[in-house]
Symmetry: C2
Amino acid sequence: MSLPHVSSGEIVDIRPLDQRLKDAFSNALLRTERLEVMRLVLPAGKSFPEHHVDGESTIQCIEGVVELHAHGSIKPMRANQMVYLGPGVRHALVAQQDASVLVTILRNQQLPHEADDSAEGLGTV
Amino acid sequence: MSLPHVSSGEIVDIRPLDQRLKDAFSNALLRTERLEVMRLVLPAGKSFPEHHVDGESTIQCIEGVVELHAHGSIKPMRANQMVYLGPGVRHALVAQQDASVLVTILRNQQLPHEADDSAEGLGTV
């Protein structure tokens, strides 16, 4: 996988893209076994279709306006607003203005094939 | 505990405090078993002493300038910058200007007193 693995202590830029937004792509900012942070770029009118993630997540609006469709309602999110979504909550995002959002996902702690390794680690403590 | 438990889907304001910063207090924005998000308010000259958290964390500068002391170096963080810190990484924050930061902490899945249970549980897998 070509996803970035930001080092602990490395400073990451999450400024609004502003004029660069129309040419920007969504990108992963960091990914560890338990944590994933990405910036989604959503030009006006674009949407991120309904989906869910297994773990908890937060979505922070960095710029623009996105509609959050979740829990049977539609809420606009503007820059400097964030939302928490519980595990498995189905949701979609629809950009009302050129927008980018920071998505933080807590993965469930172990992938199934990793559970045994972890158990060994704990067993030696 | 009087910590807030934000509901899934509830929009939370994380705007810069600006003029309100000097009278503001650090506050928890959400807390679940695995996730904690708080805003730390650090007026110029104040520091958050060296400490560590067991789980992974991110720190996002919302406004002002804070020095991050971690991994043997000092790095300034400005608004719209964030940093990832691995589990147990000792760090401190020192505000160079009136600042507030958003701290996201992934708790280890179990609290310490539960670890033995967990090890047993995994051991039986």
